[in-house]
C-alpha cells in the first residue's frame, strides 16, 4: 500500500513509544515504515499549524479536540471514511471520543487517547471523616469543603488554574454546562452570560480548597498533588485513574477509588488522535497508506499491548475497558467507573476553529481571577462576551 516511510508529528506518549517497537510489523503490513517526531503539546500545536499551512511535510498529524476544527476547516486534514479500513472497527472507539472526533458531520481522526472525567477520591480520608463518596454535585462540594485541612497537609480538591483552553477553561467547562451554558446558540448570543458568571463564581469558590501550585498549574499539578497524597478528592480527566494506581507514579495506590462525575455534572470530553494530512498525501494511494497507519496504530491489538505495558491512560476502545485483562490490571472499581463515565461525557467546548482563540482568551481572564490579579467576575465575563462577538 505504501511506497515511502510515513512521517508523523505527535506528542510524546508512552503508547507511541511502544508503537515504535512494532515498526517492522507495520512495514510488513504496508510496505513502508514510519517515523514519529515528538513535541510537547504547545510546541506540537504551533509546529503542526505552521507545517500544515506551509510545507506540509507530515503525512499524519496528531490532532486534538481543540485544533480539530481548525485543521478540518482549513483543509489540512482529510476525513477518515474511505481511507480507514473497515476491519479495524471504528465504532468500537469510546462513544465520547468518537463524538469529539466528529466535526461538520464527518469523522476526522482515530483516537489515541481521550475520554471524559472521573471522580477520584481517597478512601482513607473519606472513611476517616465518615463521609460517603459523593454521588451528586452538591454532595461533592460539601465533601470538598469538609475535607479541606491545610494544617494537616490535605486539600479538599485540585483544580486547574493555568491559562489555556485545555487547562483552566477545560475544568470550568463542566460548570458552565451545569449552569446551562452553551456556545453560540445564535449569532447574538455567543455565550450565556448568566451561566458563565455563575460557573465562574462557583469555580472560584472551589478554588479556595484547591491545592497550592494548582493556581497556575494544570492537569499535571493537580493530579501530581493528588498522587502525592495532598488531595482528598477531585474530578479530573480519566487518565488520572490509571496513574493513581501505578506505584511508580503514585504514593496513594491502595487508598484510591473511582466514580463517574457527580450528577448532574457532565464529563468534559476530549480526545487526541491521528488524522491524515492533506498536503503531504495528494494522491488517493498515499491517503490510503496514511489511513492504514492511523487504523493500525489505534487497533485493538495495539490497545492490548498498551494495556499489557500498563499504560491505562491511552486506552480508547470499549472492548478494552470490558476486557478481563483490564479488570485484572486496574481493578474492578476503575473498570466500572470507566464504563460508567462514558455516559456522562459530552463535547462541552465550542467545536469551531476559533475555539482556541476564544478559549485561550477566556483562560487568561480566568487565570487572572484565580490568582487574584483581577476580581470582577462580571467584567471578565462581559469582556469574554465582547471578544466572542468580535470573532
Amino acid at each position: 500500500v505504501c511506497s515511502e516511510d510515513l512521517r508523523i508529528l505527535a506528542q510524546p506518549r508512552d503508547g507511541l513509544t511502544l508503537l515504535e517497537d512494532y515498526v517492522d510489523e507495520f512495514e510488513e503490513l504496508s510496505g513502508a515504515g514510519f517515523e514519529i517526531d515528538y513535541l510537547n503539546e504547545n510546541d506540537r500545536r504551533a509546529k503542526s499549524q505552521a507545517d500544515a499551512s506551509t510545507v506540509g511535510s507530515y503525512d499524519v498529524y496528531y490532532v486534538d479536540e481543540a485544533n480539530l476544527p481548525l485543521f478540518a476547516s482549513s483543509g489540512w486534514i482529510v476525513p477518515l471514511p474511505g481511507y480507514y479500513p473497515d476491519e479495524y472497527d471504528y465504532d468500537d472507539f469510546d462513544a465520547g471520543m468518537r463524538q469529539v472526533a466528529t466535526y461538520d458531520g464527518k469523522q476526522w481522526f482515530a483516537p489515541i487517547q481521550g475520554g471524559g472525567d472521573l471522580l477520584v477520591y481517597r478512601t482513607d480520608i473519606l472513611e476517616a471523616a465518615g463521609i460517603e463518596p459523593p454521588k451528586t454535585w452538591d454532595e461533592y462540594k460539601a465533601a470538598v469543603e469538609a475535607l479541606n485541612d491545610p494544617a494537616a497537609g490535605i486539600y479538599g480538591t485540585g483544580l486547574r488554574g493555568q491559562r489555556g483552553s485545555g487547562a483552566n477553561v477545560w475544568r470550568w467547562l463542566p460548570l458552565y454546562a451545569l449552569h446551562g451554558g452553551k456556545w453560540f446558540e445564535s449569532e447574538d448570543t455567543p455565550i450565556n452570560i448568566e451561566a458563565a458568571t455563575a460557573a465562574t463564581q462557583e469555580y472560584l469558590e472551589l478554588f479556595q480548597y484547591s491545592a497550592p501550585g494548582t493556581q497556575t498549574g494544570s492537569f499535571d499539578e493537580s493530579t501530581g498533588a493528588f498522587r502525592a497524597g495532598k488531595i482528598a478528592l477531585l474530578v479530573e480527566s480519566a487518565p488520572l485513574g490509571g496513574m493513581s494506581v501505578d506505584a511508580a507514579q503514585s504514593q496513594v495506590v491502595d487508598k484510591v477509588a473511582f466514580l463517574a462525575p457527580p450528577a448532574p455534572l457532565a464529563g468534559s470530553g476530549y480526545a487526541h488522535g491521528f488524522a491524515i494530512a492533506a498536503a503531504a498525501n495528494p494522491t488517493d494511494e498515499e491517503k490510503a497508506c496514511a489511513g492504514l497507519f492511523v487504523a493500525w496504530s489505534t487497533s485493538k491489538e495495539q490497545e492490548a499491548r498498551r494495556l499489557e505495558a500498563g499504560q491505562p491512560g491511552e486506552l480508547t476502545r470499549t472492548s478494552t475497558y470490558q476486557s478481563p485483562a483490564y479488570v485484572e490490571a486496574f481493578g474492578q472499581n476503575l473498570a466500572d467507573a470507566m464504563a460508567a463515565t462514558g455516559n456522562h461525557t459530552q463535547v462541552l467546548f465550542w467545536q469551531d476553529p476559533r475555539w482556541q482563540e476564544l478559549g485561550n482568551n477566556w483562560g487568561i481572564k480566568l487565570e487572572e481571577l484565580i490568582t487574584g490579579t483581577r476580581t470582577d467576575v462580571d467584567g471578565a465575563v462581559k469582556e469574554l462576551d465582547e471578544f466572542a462577538r468580535s470573532l
Partner: protein, 272 residues
Amino acid sequence: MRPGTLILRAVLILAGLVVVIPLLWTLLNAFKTNADLLVGTPKLFFTPVWDNMDYVLSRRSVARALQNSLIICSSAVVIGAVLGVPAAYVIARIKNRATREAQFFALSLRFMPPVAVAIPMMVIWISLGMYDSRIALIVTYLTITISITIWLSVPAFERVPIAVEEAARVDRLGPYATFFRVALPIARMQVLSAIAFSFILVWNEFLLALMLTTSKAKTLPIVASEMSQLGMNVPWGILNAAVVLLSLPPLILLALVGRGMNTAFSKKSPQD
C-alpha cells in the same frame, strides 16, 4: 578579619551554593522515580534508578539530534568564525565611520526577534527546497554566530599591540600573514572564547530550530521539548535527565576553554 569581610565571604559562599545546589539537585533528580520526586519533603536518600537516563539515551531521536546539533552548531560556529573573526580584525584595526557602522550593524542583528525571523525563513527555505535540512539551519544560525563572534572578538584584537604588527611588517609579513601568524595567535584565547560563546548561543537556540526543522535536522533543544511532556504528565525525572544531557556539552566546553573565558572579558593585554 574584619566583620565586613566575613559578611562578604558568606554572601559569596551563598552565591556559590545557589549555583551548585540546584545543579547537583537536578543531577540527583535525574535518578529518581516520579514517586521519589513528587514528595513534600525533598529526598536526599533514595534508590537511584537508571530509567530516566535510559529513556533519554535510548530514544532514537536523541542520538540523531545530538548528531544534528553537533554538526549544525559546529558548522555554523566554524563558518561564523571564519567570516566573523577576520571581520572583527578589520573593525578593530581600521577605525573609521564605516567600520563603526559595521560593528553596530553586527550588534543590531541581536535585536531581531526570532518570532519575526521564523516565518520568513521558513518560507524562504521551503521555496529553495531546503526546508528541514542542516544547511538551512546552519545558514540561518550564521547571523547569530557571525555577529556574536564579531562583537566579542573586536576587543580581543584591539588588545594586540600595534607595534607587534608593525614588527611583523618589518619582518616581511604581508597584511594577511600578519593576521594569521601574529594577530590571531596573540588574540587566540579571547577569540576562542568568543567563538565558544557563539556556540553556546546556537546550541541553546530553540525557536528557529522548531520552525525550520521537522525531523531530519532536528536539534537537541527540540528533543528536550519532546521530553518535557509524556502523556498528560510532566515527567520530571526524565526532564531532569534531559537537562543533564543537554547541559553537558556546554559544560565540557567550559572546562576546555575555561581559562580563555575568564580572560575574554578582562581588559589586560597579553603583554601587560
